[in-house]
């Protein structure tokens, strides 16, 4: 079996499952955000359910439109807050203690290798970075998971992505995943799991793995998965020592040698350059050389894709205290309070702000065109986020280019899309 099949089989109580099979499987975590939870609460009550299946296995996260951007957004958060109180949900995250769900929940120790996780947010696939099978669902499915503790899943085929070689200067995890989406296109992995393997994945930090698995859905995938290794267990040791187990091998979280894959894709990092995805699809990927010089109004470094500490450290190293270009607004959005604290305590926050950037509290904000930096008609943005669909980040005639933090930092300094190796 593949790793995806093993996790689903275990949660369905079956000895084995095969791609294509539909199973009912028990979930370890079923979470929602301020945008999706209020509807789930309504549906939950409409289903006639009274109590959630396990008050510790839900997480309710304020991240998309917080701090509340308007009255309606405030009402959405309020509905979530009241549900958390009514049900006694232990993992309710309030503004100030909350962050972007896909960064917050792993850091809170709520994701464990081999877990089956569903979330009413499409980038739930991110948790595959820790070896969990995690996938996005809608609000009605979430209400069902809360009521029953289980949900139906179609066991996905897996695409094996073998990554070898070393990143060149100023090339990183985002460039790798953009390259893969360019190869597969936006629906090349539809209904399938992406399993990332190879020496370069083994050498990659947890922050990098999170960036890679986060964008699995941009190729249509149901989840992205990395089998746990020392990096994973080190991370767990830091965030959830209580759940650590003495013999990780007993979890059997490696694909079998005879596992069946629908496709094998090889990516060689040695030949990779910084990449940028042009509007309006994350698969419209170009080498940086082909897009340099495009004037940009706003640069955003943040989101569940690239809002972790490593991303800001990379950006700071490239900016080297050079001022933000006068024609550019540079918005920095740490994904969690812990990352914000690290930025403050390390002095990075002050250096960015002195350079002319602005620092936002943890939120999705401009990534979803909600608030904190929405684009006007005709404006151009370069964001480290994951989607650049028409109208996603503001006016339908605004444009967003996607990149990693390296290109974003170089662009913020230059005022035009710039190669981080040439500034």
């Amino acid at each position: 079996m593949t790793l995806a099949e093993k996790i689903l089989a275990r949660h369905a109580g079956l000895a084995s499952v095969k791609a294509g099979q539909i199973v009912m499987a028990k979930v370890d975590l079923a979470f929602g955000t301020d945008v999706t939870t209020a509807l789930s609460v309504e549906v939950f009550h409409r289903m006639g359910a009274e109590k959630v299946f396990d008050t510790h296995k839900l997480a309710l996260v304020n991240d998309h439109f917080v701090p509340a951007k308007d009255v309606q957004a405030a009402a959405l958060s309020k509905a979530m807050r009241e549900f958390a109180q009514e049900q006694g949900i232990t993992n309710y995250f309030e503004v100030g203690r909350s962050g972007i769900c896909h960064s917050l929940l792993p850091d809170k120790g709520l994701v464990f290798p081999g877990d089956l996780i569903v979330g009413a947010d499409s980038h739930t696939c991110t948790y595959g970075a820790l070896g969990a099978f995690a996938t996005g669902i809608g609000s009605t499915d979430l209400a069902c998971a809360w009521a029953l503790g289980e949900l139906w899943f179609r066991v996905p085929e897996s695409i094996k992505v073998v990554v070898e070689g070393r990143f060149g200067p100023n090339v990183g995890a985002k460039d790798l995943i953009l390259k893969l989406i360019n190869i597969l296109t936006v629906d090349g992995a539809l209904y399938q799991a992406l399993e990332f393997t190879g020496s370069s994945i083994r050498n990659m930090s947890m922050d990098g793995r999170i960036t890679v698995c986060n964008m699995a859905i941009e190729a249509g995938a149901k989840t992205g998965l990395i089998a746990p290794d020392e990096t994973t267990w080190d991370f767990i040791r830091g965030v959830n020592p209580a759940r650590l187990i003495s013999n990780p091998a007993s979890l059997d979280l490696d694909s079998d040698p005879d596992a069946v894959y629908s496709q094998v894709v090889h990516i060689d990092l040695d030949s990779l350059t910084p990449l940028v995805a042009e509007p309006y699809l994350p698969s419209n990927v170009r080498p940086i050389k082909e897009v340099t010089g495009i004037k940009v109004d706003q640069v955003v470094i943040g989101s569940c894709t690239n809002g972790r500490l490593e991303d800001f450290q990379v950006a700071a190293a490239i900016m080297q205290d050079r001022p933000v270009h006068p024609g550019v607004r540079l918005l920095l959005i740490p994904a969690t309070p812990q990352i914000l604290i690290a930025l403050i305590e390390s002095g990075l926050a002050a250096r960015f702000v002195k350079a002319g950037a602005t620092l936002s509290p943890p939120t999705c904000g401009p990534c979803i065109g909600g608030h904190m930096g929405v684009l006007a008609k005709g404006e151009v943005g370069l964001f480290t986020t994951n989607r650049n669909f028409r109208g996603r980040n503001g006016h339908p005639e605004s444009k967003v280019y996607l990149s990693g933090p390296q290109v974003a930092a170089a662009t913020a300094v230059k005022g035009v899309i710039a190669d981080p190796n040439e500034i």
Binding site: G119, R390, G391
Partner: protein, 168 residues
Amino acid sequence: MPYEVLRGSVFRYGDSVDTDVIIPARYCTSFHAAELAPHCLEDLDPTFVKRVSAGDIIVAGYNFGCGSSRENAPIAIKGAGVACVIARSFARIFYRNSINIGLPILSAPEAVDGLNEGDIVEVEPGTGAIRNITRGGVWTADAFPAEIQSIIRAGGLVEYVQKRLASR
């Protein structure tokens, strides 16, 4: 999902119609059909809501509904009066959400080739039969797996869970 015959005229769009154009996040502070429907597809086709009548049918290419998990997307489409979406393929969360809220969706690549903007089309969601009344042509959509048919037969996921809870 209703088993009666649907009949309406075709609104045709391309590949990867994403949830951000189906219903932009700026309207997703509401999940009520009446508030969402007036903005359905406005960033892709601002005339859609003015032209669509109850019972009309959206026909599109690959990967319809890609992007966000927002259930607001199928809710907006259903709320706009659309009776059914026929596409070459659907993004998976949109697919689940549509089944769950009772918006009939049919994956039928060949039918998409034979349906033009404005054609009158007849659809039987129960059997997957699709007929182009204007120009002729009959196709059958891919069947739903048995497990999903049982959810559809129960009347949607809400009813399915109600039954499960009642039998406990």
